[in-house]
């Protein structure tokens, strides 16, 4: 920690937030919101200001057990070694009297009460997200936060209690009496591995080894202390953790595979692990410690940086082989923001993310794929619909023409759907090219199944089916696009007009799209077109939307097989051809050049 403060290459900005991020790899424009600290770098940490301050508030560093002053430092080894004034509490900012005792007493003139929030824009080439996790709030579970159960605390509260710097100076006490406990119960998986609403469905991975660690530390101090751990299977698979678990058992810690309920006076009621519900046990404990899980902090980062989240709200990696790269080039992540991680894993991932960033910095430039959107200047009217459609902010309208920010464009092709003038296209994935492919694929359209597959997931899923030697109908003709959102309604109806009996549009699963949530546009379009088919008397089953991941060869084959079983009458194919053969009325450019 101290190294960060004094490293010449690190500019440390505390009480600072990232307000906005624009740009792309090599050139991110980041707006930083710097909150006032009110104490300048001239602070020598002498502590005179701290002595004078008489305003107290709850100490969040100690999980609100204990108090701190309005001018404070979260803990003694804080970096930077500078006090900070909490302006939400300090009476200088709230009351009439304008207390400024600390300012009066500071011999170094390091206190500046006139500081305000400032915004600063910095340019960086790459970003590492390491915002970590927040603890799960167990209020309401096992009577936590209820005045009837003052001796139910969280693992973090125990952690602070055991610290010599904590609110009890390292004494283990029952909060209700201040006396040392004679028995302690730990309850694992509180709010974790649960499908209940508001609880966490996943394993937070840290709570088991952390509890075992705490039982060992408690046993070291009080050999006679009775400790029971109520668990839903102890998971100590990490480095040297099993040894720790065995040691705790050797020292007499009792592990009970059962979930207790709490009743009056901290009595835990639990079923006998062997006899089950038939035999309920009751035991009173002096102190109950809840091992709570951890929640991701990634939602905010996802919105700020436009990186997708996984199902559980953690940042999603680009692929399994690049576990610290976000799908957006130039953005990396480390630690528990990606998934629950212990300190060792955080450090490993930080090293990996740093290596990725450093790789970018080896050259003066970086190369981006040229498969991106192109505007036909002769057709563009500057209506701006493509710009509104683009989730990457890569299109702007200038002088009545759409202009692509080449480095920001990802080449997904969603913009094409918005254009009514056929004025925007993706390089080498132009509408005419894909239509040309369709014409070749449907030279003899009988029984053919046209599959549009996105580059990242579905095409790879079809490859995987082949690699696994899964056999399916040779009537399938796959057409690759970068994203499923590139598949315009026009393309699908063109396939039908050419006599295609069946069409499958496939893409990454919702939340897995490599272009933010663009596959949701695909879903909307396909569902709408299916409705149109129905209204025109065409069987909507002839158009299928299927999410296929790169690992789902089986699922790809199942989709094809299902489609194959669908029988389509020749009359219907002919009718569909007729319906969609009529050329669509296109709006022509009506633009008067000045």
């Amino acid at each position: 920690m101290v190294d960060v403060g004094r490293h010449p290459n690190i500019e440390l900005l505390t009480v600072c937030e990232v307000a906005k991020v624009k740009g792309y790899v090599g050139s991110f424009e980041v707006t930083l919101r710097r909150h006032p600290r009110y104490v300048t770098e001239d602070c020598t940490f002498c502590g005179e200001c701290f002595e004078r301050c008489n305003v107290f508030t709850e100490d969040e560093f100690n999980v609100n057990r204990g108090l701190r002053k309005a001018i404070y430092t979260p803990f003694l080894q804080s970096v930077p070694r500078q006090y900070v004034i909490d302006d939400k509490v300090c009476t200088h900012f709230s009351e009439e009297e304008k207390c400024q005792k600390c300012w009066e007493d500071c011999k170094k003139h390091a206190i500046d009460l006139s500081q305000t929030v400032e915004e600063e824009i910095v340019r960086v080439g790459a970003i590492v997200v390491a915002t970590g996790v927040k603890p799960y709030d167990p209020t309401g579970l096992y009577g936590y936060g209820d005045s009837r159960f003052p001796d139910v605390i969280t693992a973090m509260e125990l952690e602070r209690m055991m610290s010599p710097e904590g609110p009890t100076k390292g004494e283990i006490i029952r909060p209700s009496t201040g006396e040392a406990p004679r028995s302690v119960a730990f309850i694992q998986c509180v709010g974790s591995r649960s499908e209940k609403e508001g609880e966490l469905p996943y394993c937070s991975k840290l709570c088991c080894p952390n509890t075992v660690k705490n039982t060992l530390l408690l046993k070291e101090r009080f050999a006679e202390l009775e400790i029971c751990v109520f668990h839903n299977n102890i998971r100590t698979s990490g480095n040297r953790q099993e040894k720790m678990f065995l040691e705790a058992r050797k020292q007499g810690v009792i592990f009970i595979g059962s979930f207790p309920e709490i009743s009056q006076d901290h009595v835990l009621i639990f079923s006998d692990p062997i006899l089950g519900e038939e035999r309920l046990m009751r035991k009173r404990f002096d102190l109950v410690v809840l091992a709570t899980g951890i929640r991701p902090t990634a939602v905010e980062m996802s919105e700020l940086l436009g990186v997708p989240l996984g199902k559980r709200g953690f940042i999603k990696e680009e692929s399994q082989l690049t576990p610290t790269s976000a799908p957006t080039k130039g953005i990396y992540f480390a630690g528990a923001v990606g998934s629950p991680a212990d300190i060792k894993q955080c450090i490993e991932q930080a090293g990996s993310a740093a290596m990725q960033v450093s790789k970018n910095f080896q050259r003066d430039t970086t190369e981006l794929s040229p498969i991106i959107a192109k505007v036909d200047l002769e057709r563009c009217t500057g209506c701006g619909k493509c710009s509104n459609q683009c989730l990457f902010g890569a299109i702007r309208v200038e002088d009545k023409l759409a202009v692509i920010t080449e480095a920001a464009c990802r080449g997904c092709g969603n913009c094409i759907n918005a254009c009514e003038f056929d004025a925007i296209s993706i390089s080498n994935y132009a509408e005419e090219q894909l239509k040309g492919e369709l014409r070749a694929a449907l030279r003899e359209p009988e029984d053919k199944i046209i599959v549009f597959a996105c580059h990242w997931c579905s095409y790879a899923g079809a490859d995987f089916a082949g690699t696994s030697r899964l056999q399916y109908s040779p009537k399938v003709r796959i057409i690759k696009t970068m994203c499923s959102c590139r598949v315009t309604v026009d393309l699908i109806t063109y396939a039908f007009a050419l006599g295609a009996p069946k069409v499958i549009v496939s893409g990454c699963h919702p939340g897995d799209c490599h272009y933010l949530d663009n596959n949701m546009f695909t879903e909307k379009r396909v569902l709408k077109l299916k409705e149109e088919l129905t209204s025109k008397g065409i069987n909507p089953e002839r158009l299928m939307l299927k999410w296929v991941s790169a690992a789902e060869g089986q699922r790809f084959v199942a989709a094809v097989q299902k489609m194959e079983q669908l029988s389509v009458e020749e009359d219907e194919i002919e009718m569909t051809k007729m319906i969609f053969s009529e050329p669509k009325k296109r709006r022509l450019k009506k633009r008067i050049r000045k």
Binding site: T14, A130, N360, N428
Partner: protein, 194 residues
């Protein structure tokens, strides 16, 4: 305008493709279209590369279709071959007649061959309208932003700084240290938190 000169290269991949797919039929069928050249090779990715190189020169090809394995495997390889031969790497299309044809229609050689022909024709249609492209070069600002001053952010910053890169470390709170600083001891060795 000069006529497009498309070359088509059909790979056998040993017997991986040439087992179920009758490559000779594919070649003959494709040769009926207006392509400049159709060529077969046992392994396009290895020995075939030299063949492509010399053919591009000899037949003055300006774009090629390689019918072989998945582009996910060898697209880069053949793009490099194009570059070496002096044509734009994006004037190449790969047609997947292995993962998406011979391997999944192993027992239907006729249908697999027919499909392979269609796939090659599809590739030819696409490559006809391909445009030469150049990767976009963007300047690299050699400074990193690390968001979050917990153990991960601290470690990432120090690693980068030690490698000689400039780092801005942004922390919302008044101190770095994050959750780790709140821990009394850390498992598995009961060390003090770093």
């Amino acid at each position: 305008m000069l006529e497009d000169r498309t070359g088509v290269f059909v790979c056998h991949c040993g017997t991986n493709i040439a087992g179920p797919v009758n490559c000779q039929t594919v070649t003959e069928e494709v040769a009926r279209t207006d392509v400049a050249l159709v060529r077969e090779h046992a392994y396009m990715c290895t020995g075939g590369q030299a063949q492509i190189l010399s053919d591009i020169e000899e037949y003055d090809l300006d774009r090629i279709v390689v019918a072989a394995c998945s582009p996910r495997i060898h697209e880069e390889t053949f793009r490099e071959v194009c570059e070496e031969a002096g044509i734009n790497p994006y004037m190449m299309e790969m047609v997947n007649i292995r993962e998406q044809c011979s391997w999944c229609h192993t027992h239907e050689p006729d249908a697999a061959t027919q499909k392979a022909i269609d796939l090659v024709l599809m590739g030819i249609e696409k490559v006809k309208l391909n445009k030469p492209l150049t990767p976009i070069e963007v300047p690299m600002t050699k400074r990193a932003l690390v968001i979050g001053g917990g153990i991960s952010g601290i470690e990432a910053s120090i690693q980068l700084a030690d490698l000689g890169h400039k780092v801005i470390l942004v922390e919302r709170g008044p101190t770095i240290g994050g959750k780790m600083a709140q821990l009394n001891k850390i498992f598995p060795d009961q060390n003090c938190s770093p």
